[in-house]
Symmetry: C3
Subunit: 682 residues, 3 copies
């Protein structure tokens, strides 16, 4: 689609205190910008009063961009409702609990399923898109923005939830049986008996409720996309920008209604990008650690199993007034190339300016508050030149992968309310799903391997596509999927199973099988008990090489070996009776079972055993990742995530893409530096 | 009543996905189970719709149990209201604050004082009990379940609270005077002026409010017990199962309406049972530390000053999905014997199965989710055999005691809202009453002494019954009780007084006396100031032998000696002017005053001075407790709460009850091991 | 006005369980008390029912006081509404959020702007003041008590807020422009569109909302003062007692409606008074650290730039039942003399008794609960004798100052919602304004300098009044004020600018200038980026002498030097490119820019460079402060804030005021000791 990686920023000229449109666009052009995103936040500007529209103000922006060869991504403004609409129909206000309305004054306060909202949203969408669809600058549309921000408890939403259960289960007796409502006297006599979600403590209810909430988001975005498509040109795409941490988003389902995946990866800069990662900062809507930046990229690729747009990512600072941490020199380039290496076709900063008013005054843009180009602009300009130098070679990459990991959004949701893991202080860890998942992902990353993430909905069982398949914490799984996993191993795949996988069925009912349910026989291990642990339990390797400090953590399955080989055992008077990691050949393949959350040292050791990295003996802070270009060439990205300059001997011939010169077998990288290499065709 | 300790589990066949009744009962019989508890959680099964009853489903369970010699404890199902009832009368929903209803979806959401609830509860109770009272398996009834879970703020509850004040105080002027309502302009002109408890900050109000709440629970449980007794056979008992940490329970008052005490002690397993206790985990509805397990047993004995039933206790795991910590081998046996040694006549696990659905999916039962006997079943089976071997000798024990401690539920309540102690970070410690009480209990336990706990309502002043009486934190006390304490010492008792005792009267009004009020003269010390302390203040002994590390902590009374001997002083430039512990002979007895929260080392030293343990020089992890059997013999329980095997020389002849062999003066215990010894008649 | 420092306590005889009026007053007289405060808390005693008044009960207190030469400060009782009034008009209940009423049961629950409240408040005020205005004991009035405790969200309050915006901005279009309401679709079409403050996240709204709330407090107190003045004698003053941490108080504006400033400084005792301050305890309504006690005194002086009354300060304990920390011997005297040295004309403890009931039972008074004089009474009696000995010499002091600091209440407010600083765990620090301000204040204090605090409203630009002016965190500032700062330096002042100063305009809009806005050129440095830092960044001095451990902390401006000299730089691979502190001569003066929150070592070093202390080489725990007496003499206060006795050589001749003897050039101070010296006229 594009000759080079799309490069740019969200651009809100309407937020500026002075007219500086020409200056801004000239600066962008100088930085080799090729795209801007506009218009998605200002419904009250598009429609200052009920039914009175003001559509022309954007024209100069689109014209100015077009005249400089900058493309435009046009947004629909539905995520921020105008005050007049909030005043006219207070019933459209979202409710966080039954009857408890979200206060107005921010954005995304609305029950977007309410017809009173839909009527007005549709009207303004049609006006805007009709007005600008033909503008030559417009290459695509973003409908709404970071949807799925709330679990809506409004009356209508709940009633439709009950309807959806009625349609699915038919009668209350079936629901009583499927959900085990005999428990604690919850059996319904009629659909009207169903309690609202506020007080609910039953996991089975929660499974349905979270899926229903995500369905609302998918339906809403799909509805918008369909409206926009009535006006869009065939060469224009429709997408939305996904914040992957939002509670009501099933990204794989959502993107089916869209042409492209677009996501907003935010990451901690400065020491937050050190590798190996030493900090204990937790993950959230911003990631912490280099490995976590790659994980967010791989999740974006996974939504549609294809290259994606980065609609927003860190400019100078990310978030609240007390969280300013602009990058060290080099880090913006590093992060951008990291994203591109994992399939990003666009890098768009949030945002060009820095706001002078409003909540996000300290969400620093490419330009500081002064509006004068500063350090980040200089860094961005260098990056723009690099993208131009690399051109189409890196514009549509397929990221390489050594191992595949299976991702289960429903398991993630359920563990938010019913976490299997505790924090160090004993309190529940609402990110327990990622507590398991990330430990494996990071181990692979630290071992120099690359990961493809597959949603369970995307899993075909193909061994060729995924010679190694890692499946931790697949807590909710129907029997068909579990059988498919065994068949995958039988067909030659290396299935690596982590704790909690297969434990419950699709209704979150603990299975009556010996665990891991449906997998135990083929894996050659089973368990019927398990334990949380507060301190790491040291391990000793019998079947693989461990570095110092390897340990199990947080969770231990009490594995009984029944045919498998023991790779790793615990050094503990109680847990020592059970192995930590086992492996067993099954059919043409193999099943490795990991009965704990491996700490970083253990996880990296496991993955080194699973598959050696392409390049070994790298200096501590250096990573090498790779991708395949549209024309089939192998591209390598060499990063130095540290303050120490490093020398690197290359294992083979390669061309330095950005310097456009041969490497002569050696690379020297400065602090926080990155190189892009292309290997000769083989 | 019984030939051996009742042994069993709560059994909910109605929760099982498959019919496995015969299998379950056979497994129970094999494990020597003698009792199950049934039926208390499923009102919506007993009465699927308003007025339509389904009473027969339990028959096979009772029949099957009976045929295997397993007795049944039948529950009334009132703690979990059916959805149809919740729908019909929303006004019965409990309110946590005025007008703020508890969400439906769990259990115990109801205002159990509301006549709309009472009507339906009475009807279903009568139906069930009438149906099964004659069944030969039924030995007793549990009415409701863990009552007193909420402080109900419903309109009717509050209005009856005002009525109760009117009845007690007669007119508002009296209330104004008694409660000091001149303060901050709170004087009432009429009963209608009384503010609701939500905003209340006056301690005097809180005293009445908490007692009124507990009265509601007592009345409700008594009301149910009386209904059940209309149907019960004379050989059947009525009880309820008490969770001692519930906010609206006065256990000594509650059990007066019942035939027997029944309680639910839950405790942390694994390292939570290490002795001496090193962890810093706090107490809650689960205890932490071996000493705390004994404390919970002694509190159960105290409710009625008689042996008690353990209706629920840990099976595999206790609580939330992130809190799985099944015991080390041996610990379940250790804990069961510990409870029996302190007067338990029944050990009933919660529960037999592990649930496949619902909130408590990870509240692990005797059987794992697979339903196949595992490690715990094997441990339980060994324990069943041990109970059989010990037989009637241990079935109705009176636990021995070296010291008696006075317990004040109203003082505990008041300190929840007005804590005298802070956490390490300076925030209030809502468990301040136990912050004082536990420090003394644990010191006695660590010194090898056994404790009888007396409620203030049970205190008679008898020196013979209680040669040593320890009274910490008796903050709320009327003058009569304080005078009784002095008389007790005068009559020959050793009264050990801790901080805060006697400080306030029964209305929580600080007394105008020099402190400790009414006790100062006889104790030979007084104070008029006190201080919280954030770091431990080291002490030096002048009158008793201290180990290393002895210190005062959290609170220091500024004691002025006026006739007492100083036993311990502070090593501090400010606090050093005051003694930490003093003692003075008074009449035929003695009053020892402890002006601080003794840390474990100081507290153990104090109790070693008060009374030497029966057996001394025990290995670090070993405890010895004792009880008197129904036939008057002394039984000793020797526990090794550690991973280290130990050898023990016995001070005298004894017979090993479980091995049924003489001990030959020596015992060797493995890790987490226990022995039961009976001494020859003397 | 007075011959010596007024000395006394709040006195609530109406709260006592027994009549002990004569005893109390005798004890006070013996302790040389000269003032009591009465009557402000008991509206329900003044008016037991609607319209029925009981006004005579106070007469004996006033008579008894007067007969002993004790003056009386008479309070109006409006801060605690009687229950009958709360019952009659529930609509006067304050709302913390829209529609969310504060529970009754404490005090200050009322919407004091509501006419239903005003009607009753006015009636009772007139009754009381009319009754007692002529009493010879009464020297002044306190209206209400610690006002501004809540941000009131009542309907009427909000509607008047909208009215105030309408009056200020004229039309919604102007408001849309000024507040940047284009952002996130917030443009209003009509005044009715304005959202309530609950959900607001826009800084511009917050600026107006907080000022409006403070205006309500000022208007209310002024209204009361005006009523009282209708009755007051010319020799009587009117004030209120200010808790400076209350959310709705602009103290400089409030005191314009009053004759005198009166404030309530509470401070942590025991190790909370150690100097230098080592603890990490944070500041709140109680201060922690000696420097912070002086800061609270200097803030009281600043309200009206004149001597002030201390209406309440620590007696035995301050606050909740878990916070008892009565002072070490000497500390009460130290603190009282510290306050006097900074301009206090009255020291009044809260309070004489200790309450036997109510929330504040553990807010220990001068007397303990026993009512018998104890350690504090003895300390107080010594202090009373000292005040008598010092007499008029110290009764009306003007505190000396070496440096002046500019204080911005609006900046403080804004940073409560939009903090620039984070706590160590990354969470926002709601006291961020003081996070900046206090770092500078403490540095000056540690360097032996004294500080005058000026509100921005009081700044005249005079170099003579303020040769050194320190301005940190002046985030909200209009252009005129920034220009005035530059003019001040030009005229010869030494302007010391800290981070965040000038960043935003009066509407909290980030300025479009290069920063520090309007100051950059004259300061010779500018920045356009900045960073929060989690760990201290070490510095190295190039232009001033640093001790060990000097570091920048929490915040770093990325300063580019453009004419200034670099005094201090960072030792860091990233931040090292920028200086930490620069200085540049400007006009006849100088501008020093500090681009970080200096840690204590760096801040003290900075102030040692700015100005040498009067006395140097003091022992570690010793401070010397000074003031000018009414007759123009220099008084010095020498404190030893430690357990170590110290010897001190004096730099010049001085007379020991309290011992009434010459010093002979030497002083020896015991632990927690204080001396008052007067220097001979020069």
């Amino acid at each position: 689609m594009h000759e080079r990686v799309l490069f740019g920023a969200a651009y809100y000229h309407e937020y500026q205190p002075n007219d500086r449109l020409e200056l801004d666009l000239d600066l962008m052009a100088e930085a080799r910008f090729s795209v801007i995103r506009v218009g998605e936040s200002v419904w009250s500007t598009w429609e200052p009063e009920n039914g009175r529209f003001d559509l022309d103000w954007l024209q100069p922006v689109l014209d100015g961009a077009h005249s400089r060869g900058i493309a435009v991504l046009l947004g629909t403004p539905t995520y921020a409702v105008p005050p007049w609409l909030a005043r006219l129909y207070p019933e459209i206000t979202g409710e966080r609990k039954t009857g408890q309305r979200i206060g107005w004054g921010a954005r995304q306060e609305v029950d977007f399923t309410h017809p009173g909202f839909r009527f007005h949203a549709e009207r303004v969408i049609r006006k805007i898109v009709e007005r600008y669809a033909d503008h030559p600058a417009v290459i695509g549309y973003q409908v709404d923005n970071e949807p799925g921000n709330e679990l809506l408890h409004n009356h209508g939403v709940f009633q439709r939830f009950v309807d959806s259960l009625r349609h699915k289960y038919g009668d209350v007796q079936t629901l009583n049986d499927e959900w085990g409502l005999v428990y604690w006297s919850h059996r319904l006599s009629d659909w009207a008996d169903l309690w609202t979600p506020d007080g609910n403590v039953q996991p089975q209810y929660d499974v349905a409720w979270r899926q229903f909430q995500a369905d609302q988001t998918t339906e809403f975005i799909g509805w918008q996309a369909d409206i926009v498509r009535e006006y869009a040109r065939p060469d224009q795409f429709v997408t939305t920008c996904i914040a992957y941490d939002r509670p009501a988003v099933a990204d794989d389902e959502l993107v089916r209604r869209l042409d492209l995946t677009a996501g907003n990866p935010y990451y901690s800069m400065q020491d937050g990008l050190q590798h190996p990662h030493a900090g204990s900062a937790s993950q959230g809507w911003t990631t912490n650690g280099t490995w976590a930046l790659y994980l967010s990229a791989d999740r974006m690729y996974s939504s549609k199993q294809s290259p994606f747009l980065v609609t927003e990512t860190n400019a100078q600072a990310i978030g609240a007034p007390w969280q300013n941490r602009p990058a060290y020199d080099g880090q913006w380039r590093q992060a951008a190339w990291a994203l591109v290496s994992r399939g990003a076709k666009m890098i768009e900063y949030w945002h060009w300016h820095t706001l002078h008013f409003g909540t996000e005054t300290y969400w620093g843009g490419v330009l500081p508050h002064s509006g004068q180009p500063g350090r980040m602009y200089r860094e961005v300009t260098q990056l723009g030149a690099e993208f131009e130098a690399a051109g189409s070679l890196v514009a549509d990459l397929t990221p390489d992968s050594d191992v595949t990991m299976l991702y289960s959004t429903p398991s993630k949701w359920l563990m938010q309310k019913y976490p299997a893991l505790a924090h160090a202080d004993g309190s529940p860890d609402e990110r327990s799903y990622h507590g398991f998942f990330d430990a494996f992902y990071r181990g692979a990353f630290d071992a120099g391997l690359q990961v493809r993430i597959l949603h369970t909905s995307q899993f075909t069982g193909s061994v060729q596509d995924a010679p190694v398949l890692v499946v931790p914490a697949l807590y909710l799984a129907d029997t068909e999927l579990l059988d498919q996993l065994v068949a995958y191993a039988e067909a030659g795949g290396h299935l690596v199973v982590g704790p909690r996988t297969g434990y419950a069925d699709h209704e979150a009912r603990a299975r009556t099988d010996v665990q891991p349910a449906k997998l135990a026989a083929a894996a050659g291990v089973w368990y019927d008990e398990f334990s949380n642990v507060s301190v790491d339990v040291p391990v000793r390797g019998t079947g693989l090489e461990l570095g110092t400090g390897a340990a199990g953590s947080r969770w231990i399955d009490g594995l009984t070996v029944d045919g498998a080989d023991v790779l790793v055992g615990y050094d503990d008077p109680h847990f020592g009776r059970w192995p930590a990691i086992t492996s067993r050949a099954h059919g043409s393949g193999r099943i490795t079972y990991v009965g704990t959350v491996p700490n970083p040292a253990l996880s990296a050791a496991l993955f080194r055993w699973i598959k050696p990295a392409a390049w070994t003996d790298l200096p501590a802070g250096v990573t090498v990742t790779s991708a395949t270009s549209a024309d089939g060439r192998r591209i390598r990205f060499v990063h130095n995530w540290s303050w120490d300059s490093v020398d690197l001997k290359l294992p083979g011939p390669a061309h330095d893409v950005l310097a456009n010169q041969p490497t002569n077998g050696k690379l020297d990288l400065g602090p926080w530096d990155v190189r892009v290499l292309v290997e000769p065709d083989q």
